[in-house]
Point group: C2
Chain length 461, copies 2
Amino acid sequence: MSSIEKVLSRIDSNLDDSLGRLFDLLKIKSISTDPAFKAPCREAAEWLAKELTAIGIEASVRDTSGHPMVVGHRKSGKPGPHVLFYGHYDVQPVDPLELWHQDPFEPSLKTKEDGTKIIVARGAADDKGQLMTFVEAARAFIEETGDLPIDVSILFEGEEESGSPSLHPFLEANKEELSCDLALVCDTGMWDPETPAISVMLRGMVGDEIIVKAASRDLHSGSYGGSAQNPNHIVASIIAGLHDENGKITLPGFYDGVIEVPEDVMAMWNTLGFSVEEFLGEVGLKYPRGENDRTPLEHLWTRPTVEVNGMWGGYQGAGSKTVIPAEAHAKFTFRLVGDQDPDKIQEAFRNYVKSKIPEDCSVEFIAKEGSPALRLDFAMPVLEKGKTALKAEWGKDAALVGMGGSIPIVGDFKRMLGMDSMMIGFGLEDDQIHSPNEKYNLTSFHKGIRSWARVLDELAK
Amino acid sequence: MSSIEKVLSRIDSNLDDSLGRLFDLLKIKSISTDPAFKAPCREAAEWLAKELTAIGIEASVRDTSGHPMVVGHRKSGKPGPHVLFYGHYDVQPVDPLELWHQDPFEPSLKTKEDGTKIIVARGAADDKGQLMTFVEAARAFIEETGDLPIDVSILFEGEEESGSPSLHPFLEANKEELSCDLALVCDTGMWDPETPAISVMLRGMVGDEIIVKAASRDLHSGSYGGSAQNPNHIVASIIAGLHDENGKITLPGFYDGVIEVPEDVMAMWNTLGFSVEEFLGEVGLKYPRGENDRTPLEHLWTRPTVEVNGMWGGYQGAGSKTVIPAEAHAKFTFRLVGDQDPDKIQEAFRNYVKSKIPEDCSVEFIAKEGSPALRLDFAMPVLEKGKTALKAEWGKDAALVGMGGSIPIVGDFKRMLGMDSMMIGFGLEDDQIHSPNEKYNLTSFHKGIRSWARVLDELAK
């Protein structure tokens, strides 16, 4: 048996233990966006540092002004690229809790009707399950061969789900320590349960929250209805005016910097057999929304969008309350592509919102830091090694795909540390990340560990 | 001293005790719209029945399928009209609780900077303070003269703030017992702190709640944004499309049955010195919204409106969550005037909403029972007696006004029991009913009690 085959065999026989460790991590309620969960975030970081140290990767918890980072190294000047593996230990909030079929922080292994084994918990797929695939691959390599085949550093973040406020200062302050030859980022998905993928195109993002204020207090809609401004109506008209009848976004200059995809790339995508009926059918929908002159894969990967992630104003309880609220709220996120400038988009959005505010009302904005979109070089040499490793594990060519969601870290690695990222992950469309009953297939976890072992082995060649 | 003067004098000297009894009632958390407060609603009914019985009005708590009614009588075939006094013991929810400067159910007597004494508590003005003005007037009359000057019946309801679902069956089942010569309804306000008012025109109301459903679960806005329907955007476009650029409501047939106010009535209203700057300025606004070819008093009393009392969908917590929610909600109320038909308005609204729902989405409606608008005869003979009594107490002619809010009971008394209503109340514009820090002026309470004593006295003449 070659050494990689021994490593793979050890991964197989250690799977139950690997799963037990993942469950321990999933039990920690590391919701980064909610200040109430500050302590569990630190607990997750400490758990990871201890785990890395135990397997021979020198690791420590590093304080920031927010949730801490975990940084680890095992390097001895070996030939081959020195890689930095990135993942995040924080998770999304769990509401609406009543739609979960179990406690989100009591992970369980379940078997679906079709026999698929799934790991159910908040963070199972995003991103604890994914980051543990690398940790377990590293463990098996060291246990079996006494070392890793290349030099490895690790960065685990705890604020990915809440805008990564501490990331820039941390990268800036630790530039030398964290600058490697290549980043390996594990926060993406497979093309389908049989086809691995490497993501080469990421949308950017910019967000804003608005608070529209009218009267100085809640009003009785019988006494003031028709006369006083109603913030619910103002917010609704702001949202409704963002798209025209063809699904185009109406902000002036919004499409500046949007780049059309080259024909050969579109041709490759057309071979992927993407079915919008299946994609939407899986979530109970049928017809693609959005710009009506674009294909669904364009909507997803190469076209900018705006979505209202939350809106609220007035009475939400049972029964009725005849009130005109003093204020109403909405949270917006824009997905950006090509060379769209997050700052200019935010400025155009704010000017638009202000133009819709009546003279005796006001608006406040709460910004979410933006990040521009990112495209990787299709000819990047390490991509070939990644593809070889994934094909060996999955028996199919890896798809080179775009990503609808943004992974700002990839842009930061490029811009701040001068480092390209190879984005490989094992999530699936139906993982319900950010939703109740999030899951990660046991196959994703098991073959994900094996995939990373193969990637490390290939990179050493 | 005439007997009415002795009664008034007793009211003055008993004011502290009257206030103590009102505080006892205000402490009971009788929020009718929230099922969690079922027990306190019954407690309020029982407290009132006991109180009435103690002062010599034979009263009982009557079960319904919802919150109970309180019915009382003191009648002996005296000359003069037999009146039915109506009030409601239920109150609005108290959210947002954090904006209250005190516990909403721990009433307090406070002195404002200008020296005005106010009673602060949920229900102080709407309607516990108001109904107690009549109870205390009756108490003083009986204590001082041994009887009431005319036959009196009483009906206290516990579901006024939640659509009065039990009222129709109760009136139907107790038609004979409750049919009197005249209803006295105390749920309205003064024209201003010096000028009493009798309300002669009431808007009707019809309400609807919509639940727009799209995907079968919450979606990640990075993965599905631009492709999948977002219920927040659908609800926003429904709300935004309800008004045109002139403030007119766009539903087909909506203005059918709207009646223009006769010129002489408009002329009388113009003498009231209504200031839209003051009306809106008091709540921090400046410019009237609504149909831009109508006066503000028309907006308030004689024009139909639609207001969104609540809307919500997606994430409302701290920070951001990149989600497309599975559903979004909105609560609507229409104020109706003239002969507008609540059922037809609801039908037009629902057809409009359905026309805005994409083919792969759905909508559910939760109806709120409607009531048409109501106009009283300006020449109703008892109006003159009411005006005389109020002028004697306040030293100023009572204004005959319209009402923006609806008081469906007045329509029910008319249609089901064939009984006209004289609507007299002592609330003020700044009472913050349905809002945090609801209050009732001590003057409203004190002179309100005196006013009812005078009204009873006048009606006996």
